[in-house]
Amino acid sequence: MPAATPTPERPALTVDGLHVTVGRGRTEAVRDVSFTVRAGEAVGLVGESGSGKTLTCRSVLGLLAPGVAVSAGRISLGDTALTGLDERAWQQVRGSRLGAVFQDPGSYLNPSLTVGRQLAEPLRTRHRLSRTEARRRAVELFASVGLRDPETVHDRYPHELSGGMLQRVLIAIAVSGEPELLVADEATTALDTVVQAEVLDLLDRLRAERGLALLLVTHDLAVVAEVSDRLLVFYAGEIVEDGPTAEVVAAPAHPYTEALLRVASLGDRGRRELAVIPGRPPEPGTAGPGCRFAPRCAYATDVCSAGPVALAPVAPAPVPGDHRRAVRCLRAAELALQGAATPDRTEVPA
């Protein structure tokens, strides 16, 4: 486990006090998000759509849509500050130090070019490989992500491949530049269960083999619980809980995490979506001064809505000074929240 490996001096990714605003009214959609991802570590961002997890991930990739902007905070990839990079500097980072895979992988490939050519393109333009060298390297990469018959796949157009194969192709492209960080934004969401498990296995393997830092973004707790070491739960633009996956899943400290776990019902996929959290998250910019989850929270009291709630270390800390778990809930210490049966893969103590 990454916790056992010597901690590198600098994390692969550092996000510090990130604020993201949307639209002309500069509505704050992400507020004061901080976390790090170390080499070889997998961190999962979980939350409903609109919770700010995708905006956080897009900020890391520098792919914010027009009108959406990082208004404060720093994002660093190793030593390089990503916030405020110009177009040319981004080109140096993307595709080499930073890779990404997305939901609906087929749509991220050019429909009129073979997938092999699209993988080879950066190899040829940036690493100046010859045509044959690039092809050999591409086939090698396709084989390494578990594509059977990589020679044939190389000459296929995106529409000739299945969803699972396309996601493997996208992963091969993402790791072709030997990146430090791989961002997977809902990368398994549209895939069926079996393929989903295969792709998660692949990501896990790549992390182990290459010492990749992995940032997984998903609305599905079951997905991150399977691969991530660390879990960040987003609600209404804020991190509400942060901690080692196994601990958070077994004993959530925030009522929202508890509710999410109930919805996801790990280990029993058949019951998913049966339990629904009542109410809706507040629209960005409309949240009250207090806890943003309070209106939907079963445990809320008047204090909760009164004033801002800070992300604080879970008390009592297992070891004094251990800040590995944090929660944004006033009543965290007094509540006994219910976790889920620990999934097989995260049994390893962190």
Binding site: P66, E87, R88, G106, T125, L166
Partner: protein
């Protein structure tokens, strides 16, 4: 021979192997794929036959009689009958149509009733004028149109974008001949940069040809250029928002490479269609432009023939124009097919099955 390949060529593209999401995506994509080669050819042939029928019918319903026209008031019935026989006008109409079309396909469009010069000779002399100027106009349209469209898309919402949109809107209401008059007034009369009319064949003196062809080609091209610019801007802005553009950006490719290597290719389709649509427009506009710039083109030929009721020449020019337009449409379809590998693969796979 081509008809035998038709059923196979029209076979839909092979369905993608698995995955509900991809199946939906590509079903949609296939629906907007260009038409297959077989259907295009069948359509073109039938359209040509119908237009030629229409062209012929135009002559058939006319009461213009060559004998009366050529021989004048003093013609005796015997003279008229002799000339009618000479021109083949005493045969039944279907026979006349059949022989006219058969001869036309063989390159023989008959003879002028007045000058007795073969119509194909007159057209052969006039057509290069139009084709060379239309070619130059197309070149201008593509150059100006794509430059303006790409620039506008890149500055999406910016000053350049708004300027291009405004200019295109104005050009859209300006008929080619008003543009032509404006260009003559400014460039030829006021600035005296280029001649206001006349023509030198390209083969004779290319640089002189360019001097005379530039203004008419410019006048003809601006409207098409505006159409291309608008279309290209719309589809580029749409395509730049598409995921595959994001995918290319994430591969670390430069902005220029993403645009020219990936987005442009996929977004060019509708602009190519607009370009194809502008060919009949260019030829339609050419009639007036030829008159303004005093070019010895096919429209002047047709105009002169119309004044004299010279039916074979009128029919010949119309038929050749239709042929030019259809060939241009075929070229556009070929271009669309080349831009879209899914359709290309499907049609070649279909042909392979035969």
């Amino acid at each position: 021979m081509s008809t035998a390949a038709l059923p196979a060529a029209t076979a839909p593209p092979a369905p993608p192997p698995t995955g509900r999401v991809t199946a939906g995506r590509f079903a949609r994509r296939a629906a907007r794929a260009p038409r297959s080669a077989g259907r295009v050819l069948a359509g073109t042939v039938s359209v040509f036959l119908l237009s030629s029928l229409l062209t012929f019918a135009l002559g058939a319903v006319s009461d213009a009689n060559p004998a009366a026209a050529v021989l004048g008031e003093t013609a005796t019935p015997a003279d008229i009958a002799r000339l009618d026989h000479e021109f083949g006008l005493d045969r039944p109409l279907p026979v006349q149509f059949g022989s006219w079309l058969a001869h036309a396909l063989g390159g023989d469009l008959g003879r002028s009733w007045f000058t007795t010069v073969p119509v194909s000779d007159s057209i052969a002399a006039a057509l290069p004028v139009d084709l060379s100027i239309a070619g130059l106009a197309l070149l201008f349209a593509v150059l100006f149109g794509s430059a303006a469209g790409i620039g506008a898309a890149l500055s999406n919402g910016g000053r350049l974008d708004r300027a291009v949109t405004a200019v295109c809107t104005v050009l859209g209401t300006l008929p080619a001949f008003v543009l032509a008059i404006g260009l003559i007034t400014v460039v030829a009369v006021q600035l005296r940069l280029l001649p206001s009319g006349g023509y030198v064949p390209f083969g004779q003196n290319p640089s002189q040809w360019l001097r005379f062809a530039t203004l008419p080609a410019l006048a003809l091209s601006l409207d098409a250029a505006a159409g291309i610019a608008r279309q290209l801007r719309t589809s580029l802005v749409g395509a730049l928002r598409e995921n595959y553009a994001t995918g290319a950006v994430m591969r670390g490719l430069s902005r220029r490479r993403v645009l020219f290597g990936h987005v442009l290719r996929n977004a060019a389709g509708p602009a190519v269609t607009v370009l194809g649509m502008s060919v009949p427009m260019l030829i339609g506009g050419a009639v007036v432009t030829e008159r303004i710039f005093n070019l010895p083109g096919i429209a002047q030929l047709s105009l002169r023939a119309a004044e004299q009721h010279d039916v074979p020449v009128i029919q010949g020019t119309l038929l050749v124009t239709v042929a030019v337009v259809l060939v241009a449409n075929l070229a556009v379809d070929a271009g669309l097919l080349a831009l879209n590998p899914a359709a290309r693969k499907a049609s070649s796979a279909g042909a392979g099955q035969r």
